[in-house]
Symmetry: C2
Subunit: 96 residues, 2 copies
């Protein structure tokens, strides 16, 4: 089982990233797109990444916005797996 | 602008459907799938329906579950447009 990270460790990571927040034992980021269709394209892109890693974010689609919430339920908090998923998502979406 | 329906009207509709609930000025339904991948296939299916109708549900993906929340923000509640979207989604997904 992945080890739960300490809050200082997570805060340091969040400070080094763009848009991610640490809240309620999870990391969260809201992405804004030009349209609903672009939100759905993004959902498909992150779904592939999530399946590759076998680690799946909560995904809230609000028309042209998508909120991702990432945590490791089995570990009761944020782990390296979560930071890795977040990093891969941002790398993939910035590479568009 | 679509006319907001009365709560009795909405409750009658809900009673005639499977799985839909009326709560917080919106209609909601949770769909359960065999896998995350099936949840994403469903999201794509409803995204096409939503774009056809130019009316878009809130979509919450929780691994193998998808929660849809439908309301007409401009009308401040549930309208015929919402019932129509819900009906088309259930028709399309039952026709799989």
């Amino acid at each position: 089982m992945a080890k739960k990270l300490g809050s200082e460790e997570i805060k340091t990571w969040v400070a080094s990233q763009s848009g991610w927040k640490y809240k309620g034992n999870a990391i969260r980021k809201e992405y804004k797109f030009p349209s609903f269709r672009d939100s759905i394209v993004f959902v498909n892109r992150i779904a592939s990444i999530a399946d590759d890693l076998n680690h799946h974010p909560d995904i809230d689609v609000r028309y042209d916005k998508v909120l991702l919430t990432i945590t490791t339920h089995d570990s009761g908090g944020v782990t390296e797996k979560d930071l890795s998923l977040a990093g891969k998502i941002d790398f993939a979406t910035s590479a568009r």
